[in-house]
Symmetry: C2
Subunit: 204 residues, 2 copies
């Protein structure tokens, strides 16, 4: 049971992640997924129950990891971190996830798609797994920006999250130059984003 189940499930998850990123949840069929994963068509329903459950699982796997790393980075901030440090704790784990070889880069696009889907069920799932992390960051941003009204802060965090989503998914107009790897490109995006966001949060 162990090795073959593991391998099949994992290969489905990775193929699904790539194809969902490329064609969307409705646009990528289970036949494409199972064919790319070199497994039988019925394996998806056997291992995951349905296409929707597969989508959820693609999410859960990476999102748990992302949240874990963000909270870890948050913990590792010193006593008196700068705003840039706190932002980096929020932004860099997404960057790291995106540059790992096993398809994390595809996942950040899947994540951006999920926002675009505006699906209530998916939103609920995201806020359940995402909400407490965001609250943690809101707390440290609040202590770093004591003069900022709470509601104003929430708006600005929301803007940062949006810009991050967009930037990490590489949706922008800026094209990678020749000779710049995707990693380097994302690294640059993160640097610019942190600087920009820090100034935006400090505004007024």
């Amino acid at each position: 049971m162990a090795s073959s189940q593991f391998s099949t499930k994992q290969r489905i998850l990775e193929a699904a992640e790539t194809l969902f990123a490329r064609h969307g949840f409705a646009g990528a069929s289970l036949r494409q997924v199972t064919s790319a994963a070199n497994v039988n068509l019925a394996a998806v329903n056997y291992h995951f129950g349905s296409k929707d459950k597969l989508i959820e699982e693609v999410f859960r796997r990476r999102l748990d990891e992302l949240n874990k790393r963000r909270l870890l980075a948050l913990d590792q901030l010193g006593e008196a971190p700068t705003l840039e440090d706190a932002l980096a704790a929020f932004i860099r784990p997404a960057l790291e996830l995106a540059r790992e070889g096993d398809g994390g880069g595809a996942f950040v696009r899947v994540l951006a798609r999920a926002y675009a889907e505006h699906n209530d069920q998916l939103r609920k799932f995201l806020s359940e797994n995402y909400g407490h992390v965001l609250k943690q960051f809101a707390k440290i941003f609040a202590t770093l920006l004591p003069h900022l009204p709470r509601e104003e802060l929430y708006w600005r965090i929301d803007i940062v999250a949006g810009a991050l989503t967009y930037a990490m998914a590489d949706f922008g107009i800026i094209q990678r130059r020749e000779g710049v790897t995707e990693q380097q490109h994302r690294e640059q995006a993160a640097e610019h984003l942190i600087r920009f966001a820090a100034a935006g949060l400090r505004a007024e």
Copy 2:
């Protein structure tokens, strides 16, 4: 020919816009669209040729309008506009489009979806219709921020565009309060976004 063709085409376009915004391009079927528009199924292929052409037309209609308004707002800036004014010329037309009764609100979500789709054909179409407008704005931002290196400026404009896309499509975590209309919510989002973006552009 005149009135009935106009009515059918228009009703298809509007129903398509709403349903594409809600379910995505692949997720919304022509049967859903024609049913919502109260027209015959075959009308889409008759008037537009194919589903893909319909998608393109949904885009072109609004994007032409958005670009026109942005360029107009840009023209109407005085001799020495502030950075906030220039940003408003970029951001407010999207807001206005979003709050018109005839489905503009749906379109900004369609637009955000298009970014998420990452479809090369669609990207090319967008950059063709979008590129020169963005260049115009880049120029005025450059004169308003003369100390900023050109590449740095492009990065920051990209971030602004991302945050705008995200905010206008109402993807964020911030939920509308009871008694706040969608218009007011978007208005608030625009205000926060302009303030945030101005500070971000001025960073360092």
